[in-house]
Symmetry: C2
Subunit: 354 residues, 2 copies
């Protein structure tokens, strides 16, 4: 199963927002085939592994990190059909499918057909690689990743707003991979006005561009900004009742969101985005945008690239900021958990969860 997990991870980033799934087929103690779910809409791990087999998979053991799908969807036939046809000796499964409509059904189908099926093999690890998909299925909410590159002392630009480049080339490439694994990028209006970024994915073999969602409560962004030029959807988020002046670009959609205090109610925003089909979001603020998501606990992971530089001017903006009158319930701030770390070029990447 740990080898199947390794296979599954090969699906990062193009399988997202689908789950990462890996499959290893073993016959007489020898691996005869391996496969993974490689891209959104592409073949699942099981048919990939079968296709790669060096001999017939009939009577072999299957190690699959997630319960095989049992429903007909538009893109692929159910993997349970394939297994019934192959007749494995035994099927070992990592995590069950968290989708309430499918949970346990794949296992049931196999068992009813007389195929020995064991579940719960390295289930924690198999769930962990899909925390994003599990959240989607269990909470009907998108998975939210905050990403920023900062100086050691927490600054994302100098006092004049210069920020190119705080992080090293390797970190910027890694950020592109993060983008490629998301179906929406959230940015603040300030970022669009100041930097006029494209917010496109520049990562090898990336085919689709994630949507962009601009937090722009009072409609301040220029409607000819670069962000509208790529072929993808752009959500412009304004406060409820605000009416935009000027011609909205063809690929743009206005989302009206009620206020919560002085800021937009981001929980409602996330729910709306989920209904729009958004599953995995990368928030690339502005410190204030990050601050709103962190303070209200509306994040799942934080990717902080810490660059070996100190930007010291008093009015340099910090990576995460909220108003002085925001009160913390307990302790000094919002507590995180360090989950993972990487050395990327000369930068240190720290990945936090809640």
């Amino acid at each position: 199963m740990s080898k199947a997990l390794k296979e599954a991870l090969k699906g990062d980033p193009f399988a997202y927002p689908n789950p990462l799934v890996g499959c290893v087929i073993v016959k007489k103690g020898k691996i005869i085939g391996k496969g993974y779910h490689g891209f959104f809409g592409g073949p699942h791990a099981e048919p990939s592994a079968v296709k790669n087999c060096s001999e017939s998979a009939k009577g072999a053991d299957f190690y699959i990190t997630m319960e095989p799908c049992s429903s007909i969807n538009k893109k692929t036939p159910p993997c349970t059909d394939l297994l019934l046809q192959i007749k494995p000796k035994k099927v070992f499964i990592g995590s069950l499918d968290p989708n309430p409509a499918h949970n346990g059904k794949g296992v049931e189908i196999l068992r009813k057909a007389g195929i020995k099926t064991e579940t719960g093999i390295l289930s924690k690890e198999c769930e962990n690689i899909n925390s994003s998909f599990f959240k989607n299925m269990k909470e009907n909410m998108p998975y939210v990743i905050l990403k920023f590159a900062q100086s050691l002392n927490g600054k994302i630009a100098d006092n004049k707003g210069n920020s190119r480049w705080i992080s090293c080339e390797e970190s910027r490439f890694f950020s592109q991979k993060l983008r490629a694994g998301c179906d929406c990028i959230i940015a603040g209006a300030k970022t669009i006005i100041k930097d006029n970024p494209l917010l496109t994915v520049r990562y090898p073999k990336a085919v689709k561009q994630p949507s962009v969602c601009i937090i722009d409560g009072c409609g301040k962004i220029p409607l000819n900004a670069s962000v509208f030029k790529a072929d993808r959807k752009v959500f412009i988020v304004v406060k409820k009742g605000f009416s935009f002046k000027g011609k909205i670009p063809k690929n743009a959609r206005i989302l009206e969101i009620p206020l919560k205090g002085d800021f937009l109610n981001n929980k409602i925003l996330l729910k709306k985005l989920y209904k729009e089909g958004i599953r995995r979001i990368l928030v690339e603020g502005g410190g204030e945008t990050h601050g709103q998501f962190v303070f209200s606990g509306l994040f799942d992971e934080i990717y902080a690239f810490i660059s070996p530089i100190i930007i010291g001017q008093k009015n340099s903006p910090s990576s995460v900021v909220w108003p002085d009158n925001y009160k913390i319930k307990k302790g000094l701030g919002i507590e995180l958990k360090l989950k993972e770390e990487k050395n990327i070029g000369k930068d240190k990447l720290l990945i936090f969860g809640k």
Copy 2:
């Protein structure tokens, strides 16, 4: 020699500001004795190793991380005398003594007495563990370590000045070890006024208290502050010409330092402290104190404890700050080099050099 290096490191923190030195004695391919310089003023590595020998060291090979001392000082007899008396088969030496008055003399004495002596064994590594001592000897300047505990986004307190405790207990213990290895702690007046810290070493087996040096350009600290209560010297640094009102505590010394721009000339301060016998300084600012040392390049290492917390209020103080009108010559800020990292409790310690 790598085993002698391991021995040397056992001298951290109590050997400081003396060099860390280790010695391993080998006879017929077997280690018969090991030793290190364990505390300031205590026996050197060579006599310690000889004392620990399981059999006579006569005719054995000596691996010593630094050239043996050849001069009579107040505390210990010269180690070259000991070696001449023992008559080793061969002496292997890591780095030469960087003190210009002794450099190469120990080796010369051994060779003149007919003892085979080879130098330069792992010399880089042997120098690196003593970058502090090497700087002292070569530049006649103290070694300066900046230390701070910050939230992920670079804050050292919330907007009301609360900072207890950003870092975890294990990090605070580690900081005490850092203090125990320094002979002076620099703090800003603001820190003294706001927190009234003792700035003493609370580390097992620590016997001496480092001096304290308070940057207090305009003499604002209360002269009954806790910092004056421990048995050690306190330097109060004021701008040249400033005269202190009130009774100076007995253990306090006023150092007048000329201004450089709006701030004190810290280079002159460091030179004065060196003349006062200070060799290894821990700067525990205040973000502004750190900022002055970082901006002017007057530091050798930065120990940054990054705690898994976000402190977001806009007016929370950052770990390193300088005025907005300070211009950076090249790039966005002062560049550092990540030298080492540790996981300490739930915190991440990043150690930077220049």
